[in-house]
């Protein structure tokens, strides 16, 4: 490779290759998301949520729209994660490494101004978790979750989460006379922000 950095493990598998992979990081936040408000996310951006109060924040993002609204009465915190070359990174990082390609594009960053914060704990692939399934158990202070396009109505909840201080469960059901648990129709991501 002409530019960049590669890291391999003992078995020769690629741990890091700045030519093939671009960092995905938390460029700002967290931001409080109050009930009754909305915001518009960027097209290529994933929004993750963290407990601000116990309960189920009623999130809605219609397919084809990038505006997310919060109904109900349970507030939540939100962050964005996106490629580091999609925007201007934080102005100052005291420690870390930035890797650029030949064109000057930042392909990898390990700046403590944002790389320190973000580790993916796990991803539940489509169809692997159901209503009331435990997404995370333990202190939820630094834990952030998200799933595709959330929606809700009087008789359904899709891609929602129930937050408490000690666990986060997945909420995904429809009511036809009784509550019918549904598998996740979109991957569920669980991440930790180092504090």
């Amino acid at each position: 490779m002409t530019y960049g950095v590669q890291v391999f493990n003992q078995a020769g598998a690629t741990l890091l290759d700045s030519e093939l992979q671009t960092s995905i990081q938390v460029p700002y936040g967290p931001t409080s998301f109050a009930t009754g408000t909305s915001f518009t996310k960027q097209t290529e951006e994933i929004i993750l949520y963290n407990r601000a109060a116990n309960g189920v924040p009623l999130l809605k993002k219609p397919f084809g729209s990038y505006t997310i609204t919060l109904g109900g009465a349970v507030a939540v915190n939100r962050i964005s994660i996106r490629q580091t070359d999609e925007d201007t990174p934080p102005a100052s990082g005291t420690y870390g490494i930035n890797v650029y390609d030949a064109g000057g594009t930042l392909t990898k960053t390990f700046s403590d101004s944002y790389a320190r914060a973000f580790t993916i704990i796990g991803i539940f692939p489509t169809g692997t978790i159901f209503n009331n399934g435990v997404v995370y158990s333990g202190s939820t202070t630094d834990i952030w979750v998200g799933a595709g396009s959330p929606d809700w109505g009087s008789t359904w909840r899709y891609n929602q989460f129930n937050f408490s201080t000690t666990s986060i469960t997945f909420v995904n059901y429809v009511i036809f006379g009784q509550t019918i648990s549904l598998p996740n129709a979109s991957p569920v991501i669980v991440a930790k922000i180092r504090s």
């Binding site: 992979q21 290529e44 420690y95 580790t119 489509t126 202190s139 939820t140 129709a185």
Partner: protein
């Protein structure tokens, strides 16, 4: 490289959370013998929530050396390198203690009960492969040996007709089975009720997407290595 793994059943004593066999005892550990110190007994592994200490104690009659001990990894991925600790011998209880200061958040993820698996690294692993980034308090904030470094392999937007399947989308590193390393997420997709999940069919080095609904959809996706 891991040199020992222990299961700690968390207990509490005042501000302490974890395990201690020294009085007052709390919690327990299994198997409790230290592989990198000739089978000596672990006597304490606890977090002091008041003074923000992480404390490891191993039974000894004199101060043990640091040899063979590179640090501790906790279930949530936090790694505490031995080089960030101070070592001392406490003769009154016949133990060698490693003490990390400024540990402001619980290494146990906030839990005060239940089982937690901790891994002890040897003292060569940190320098063998990869890299580490420390902050100004000498706390490890990025460690390629322990943290999953989330990276975008490829991202894009694909418009598909009703129930149509895309052509192969190149994704270096993807295999049919490594969904725990490479996963496709969606910035926008028609998921929601049952029957609306976009199907990702994994291949070796590529994948396809299938539109689940009976009308044209534009799916905005990203393939991550994590």
């Amino acid at each position: 490289m891991s040199v020992d793994t222990q299961t700690v059943t968390l207990g509490t004593n005042g501000d302490f959370v974890g395990y201690s066999s020294n009085s007052p005892t709390f919690g327990s550990i299994s198997d409790g013998t230290c592989n990198f110190k000739s089978g000596a007994a672990y006597e304490q592994l606890s977090w002091d929530s008041l003074n923000k200490y992480l404390r490891l104690q191993i039974n000894s009659t004199s101060q043990l050396s640091n040899a063979g001990f590179g640090g501790i990894s906790f279930p949530d991925g936090d790694f505490y390198p031995r080089t960030a600790s101070s070592i001392s011998f406490i003769s009154a209880i016949s133990t060698t203690q490693w003490l990390w200061s400024g540990v402001t958040t619980s290494p146990w993820g906030g839990s005060t009960s239940g089982n937690k698996i901790v891994t002890f690294a040897d003292d060569t692993s940190a320098g063998s492969y990869g890299f580490q980034v420390f902050n100004s308090n000498n706390l490890l904030i990025v460690d390629s040996a322990f943290d999953k470094q989330a990276s975008v392999i490829v991202q894009g937007s694909t418009t598909l007709g009703a129930n149509a399947t895309s052509g192969a989308i190149s994704c270096p590193g993807m295999t049919t089975t490594n969904s725990n390393e490479v996963s496709v997420l969606f910035y926008d997709e028609p998921s929601g009720s049952t029957g609306t999940a976009v199907t990702v069919t994994r291949g070796n080095g590529s994948f396809t997407l299938t539109n689940p609904i009976a009308s044209s959809s534009t799916i905005v996706w990203v393939a991550l290595r994590y």
